[in-house]
Amino acid sequence: MTETLDPAAPEPIKLTRKDFVADAEVRWCPGCGDYSILAQTQKVMPDFGVPKENIVFISGIGCSGRLPYYMNTYGFHSIHGRAATLATGLKSARPDLMVWVITGDGDALSIGGNHFLHSMRRNVDFTMIMHNNRIYGLTKGQTSPTSEFGKRTKSTPMGSIDRPVMPLTLALAAEATFVARTVDTHTEHLARTLEKAGRHRGASFVEVLQNCNIFNDGAWRDFTERDVRDDRMLVLEHGKPLIFGKDRDKGIRLRGLHPEVVTIGRDGVTEADLLVHDQHAEDPYLALILSRMFWPEFPVPVGVLRDVERPTHSDLVDAQIEQAKATSGEGDLAKVLLSGETWTVA
């Protein structure tokens, strides 16, 4: 998964973070998690070696939707929920471009839910970064598809009666070939995850747990704060057993179809009993189990749940075009105009 994204480039392009900073005043609320996502995005961009004119950021509507304005690349701030559709068309017409889709929990999973599903199953070669703050921020605080059941917001004064969806489970069910989760404040992990997602060929989905300090402050605080995160989060590493905890003494074991938290060294549990992470597994079972684990029943998994290779949408589009040309030759307009039965009037 480390192929060069621009094989035609004559020489490696040396860009820095600064090259990706647009000349535009950033207008998110002070303290918003989006600042961190923007900063890490700008930071990892030079690592891909892709000229910035070949990079496109496409967003929908919501606070996250402003991000393309701050990237000194090509950018398109589209309409609510539809960024994935523009990215699909752009990538189909221009497979040479590196495309990023910036979205939020409302944009991707509510109004854009249908496009989320279908762009993932098509394996469109883009990277979708979903800022998940469990709230509608730009409209000043209404329940979102990831808000907790019972959440009191301006639109749900007696508590939300809708059950939240689990974005990673949805992405896996939609056949996404790269699925990962990270946290806005865990900057190093965030940068590393964005880089892996960007290098993946095919539909990459990254859920970034993000704080909205105005309308949903402390959205993920229970397990992301520095003092508790080691015990309440599970950092996934390919090929390694699922171990977590400040003392690295807790793990995840499978009992029947269910994961359970165990303590290494207690009740005869050893490291060998633990589930071993395999992000490249073709079948999605392990990834699906991980995607369902959440605080407080389980530590919250972060990192890459799934990373498998499949032909991308534009690979398949191009292959059919090539096949058609190989079979019947380059299209001849004059011939097609005269196809079917013709007759001549003298």
Binding site: A22, A24, P51, K52, E53, N54, I55, V56, P68, Y69, N72, T73, Y74, G75, F76, H77, S78, I79, R82, A84, T85, L86, A87, T88, G89, L90, K91, S92, A93, R94, D96, L97, N114, H115, L117, H118, V317, Q320, I321, Q323, A324, K325, T327, S328, G329, E330, G331, L333, A334, V336, L337, L338, S339, G340, E341, T342, W343, T344, V345, A346
Partner: protein, 619 residues
């Protein structure tokens, strides 16, 4: 039938014949009609067709809603419509007879499949008594042919179930009609070989059915006359038969060549536009990228994405789909990207009558978006014109960096006529350059002083990295901007850019005198009925002219002055007065409306009657 000459006692020479094939939607009437059309077209007649089929794929067999019809008019002279009324009705069952016989003039011929007139089928068609025996058809010339039985006899010995045998009876009817109108069976026999060659039994069954029908005509004493419709005198050239949807697909394929850009077509299946997707999906060897999206919104979203990437991008749908695309159309107006939205209109509102014609999406096209959101609107008038207007819509989109609405409809989309195939050299050059980095600061919303269009700076162009989107942008620089005066200025730019297209389109033409008592103004698929009506009225010495508008927004520059040179302006259209409303609003002209929404094209006679009523002082 207009008898022009009788050459011998058993052959009559006719100028024009209109046949309607009607049967159950499972009876293959569309195929039968199409085969007759091909044969007549290849022979050299002028033709015009009107396929009329139910929305249900298979309504209950034998029921009234399940009747499917196909009308073809073929002629030795230039014709504009598929005929007001059929001369001959071929009815494959009682339901088909019941729903169609009313359109037949007295003396018209009815050929029925007598085998289908069973008590059960009569009941399904709500006939209390058998119309073949109760005298209710006495004003017609009825031919009772036991088509099912004769066909089954002809197919005896083939390894087929009786149900499979029955499915071929439409070709028996077709064979009979070929004999009656002196048509060759060869084109259809060739088609059978091509279509069923790999299934010899099916091919043989269809061949036998066709020949049996033909032979029945020859040997029976039922028919005393056959009819001959000579070739039409069309302008020289190579011709083919074409439907509007076929011409639309071909037109955009040609536009992609004329624009030197790959074609992208994003669409979601919807009647009656789906055929365009089917056809373009077959042009992969041209580099055409078709995308069957998850919904109408995704279809236009992807189209906008492809346009942003530099493709000639279009999306196609029908009215309900346009409703869903509306927000994205606003985005395309705001980001000033070139794309074409094809609307093959059908009867609405909502799901309406999905397979029937209507022109009631004009308001939607011109006004149907939030904000001040101007978008050019063009409408081809005939199936063949769908080709030229596909190229023209693309030209306008590319030159003016704007989405363009292309209004076709179910009638011209499915209807066919002979088309003189243009040569590739006749195509205009509609290519436009991509923006490249210059010496000065790049202005994504800088404007060409003549067209007011902004530069098309596609991703991948070094040095032109910029951001666009649905938020209002600063004049020139294109950064997000909330300034009040800037918004007003940008809104006026968008309006003036589209309005300015009026300087770049042909003047409105007129059929008949430049001034007079009555000007009939139409648009879209009503062209044939209006032109034929005008011909008839002019032949009667009446002061009537006809202007058919292809550019609905903006209007041609001379249209307003033209309207004012007539005492009365009448706007017949298949809606309740939308173009007349726009004309009144635009020109302060007292345009009268004649609107009908019956899911059918106009009859020439009703336009003539309405014009006569107006000429006599009616309102």
């Amino acid at each position: 039938m207009t008898t022009t000459e009788s050459v011998e006692h058993d052959v009559q020479l006719l100028d024009r014949v209109t046949i309607r094939f009607a049967g159950d939607s499972g009876d293959g009437m569309q195929l039968t009609g199409t085969q007759f059309t091909r044969t007549a077209a290849v022979f050299g007649n002028d033709i015009s067709t009107f396929p009329d089929y139910p929305a249900e794929i298979r309504a209950p067999a034998g029921s009234l809603p399940g009747v499917s019809g196909f009308q073809i008019s073929f002629s030795a002279s230039d014709i504009h419509t598929p005929g007001d009324a059929p001369d001959v009705l071929v009815a494959m069952n009682p339901a088909a007879l019941k729903t169609n016989v009313g359109d037949l003039p007295a003396g018209g011929a009815v050929i029925v499949n007598a085998d289908a007139f069973t008590p059960g089928n009569l009941g399904k068609a709500a006939y209390a008594t058998n119309p073949l025996t109760d005298g209710s058809l006495k004003q017609y010339n009825v031919f009772e042919v036991p088509i099912s039985t004769l066909n089954a006899n002809a197919l005896e010995g083939l390894d087929m179930t009786s149900k499979q045998v029955d499915l071929t009876k439409n070709f028996f009817a077709l064979g009979l009609m070929f004999w009656l109108y002196e048509r060759s069976m060869e084109p259809t026999l060739a088609w059978i070989e091509q279509k069923f060659g790999k299934r010899p039994v099916v091919a043989e069954a269809n061949r036998r059915a066709l020949r049996a029908g033909y032979a029945f005509g020859e040997t029976t004493e039922m028919f005393h006359t056959t009819y001959r419709v000579p070739k039409a005198k069309l302008p020289p050239g190579v011709y083919r038969n074409i439907t509007g949807n076929e011409a639309t697909a071909l037109g955009f394929l040609a536009a992609s060549k004329a624009a030197k850009r790959d074609l992208f077509y994003g669409s979601y299946p919807i009647t009656p536009a789906t055929d365009i997707l089917h056809q373009l999906a077959g042009y992969k060897s041209f580099g055409v990228r078709t995308f069957q999206a998850e919904d109408e919104i995704a279809a236009i979203g992807a189209t906008i994405g492809a346009a942003y990437g530099g493709a000639l991008a279009l999306t196609g749908t029908s009215g309900p789909g346009v409703a869903l695309k509306t927000e994205a159309m606003g985005l395309a107006v705001m980001t000033e990207l070139p794309l074409v939205i094809v609307n093959v209109q059908r009867a609405g509102p909502s799901t309406g009558l999905p397979t029937k014609v209507e022109q009631a999406d004009l308001f939607q096209a011109v006004f149907g978006r939030n904000g001040e959101c101007p978008m050019p609107v063009v409408a081809p008038a005939t199936p063949a014109e769908c080709f030229t207007f596909a190229v023209e819509a693309s030209r306008i989109a590319l030159k003016y960096m704007t989405p363009v609405l292309y209004l076709s409809d179910a009638f011209i989309g499915n209807g066919a006529e002979p088309w003189r195939v243009p040569s590739v050299d006749e195509l205009p050059d509609i290519s436009v350059p991509n923006a490249v980095k210059g010496d000065t600061t790049f202005l994504p919303y800088g404007r060409d002083p003549e067209t007011l269009s902004r530069p098309w700076a596609i991703p991948g162009t070094p040095g032109l990295e910029h951001r666009i989107g649905g938020l209002e942008k600063l004049d020139g620089l294109g950064t997000v901007n909330y300034d009040a005066d800037n918004h007003h200025r940008m809104t006026v730019f968008r309006r003036d850019k589209v309005a300015g297209i009026a300087k770049d389109i042909p003047d409105q033409d007129i059929f008949g005198p430049e001034s007079g008592d009555l000007l009939m103004v139409g648009w879209g698929s009503t062209y044939g009925a209006l032109r034929s009506a005008a011909e008839r009225l002019q032949a009667e010495g009446k002061s009537v002219s006809h202007a058919h508008v292809r550019y609905l927004f903006p209007f041609p520059a001379n249209l307003g002055a033209m309207l004012k040179r007539f005492r009365t302006v009448l706007v017949p259209e298949l809606n309740l007065g939308q173009l007349s409303f726009v004309i009144r609003g635009t020109y302060l002209v007292d345009a009268l409306s004649y609107g009908r929404v019956r899911g059918k094209p106009f009859r020439i006679s009703e336009i003539v009657d309405e014009a006569d009523r107006i000429l006599a002082g009616g309102r």
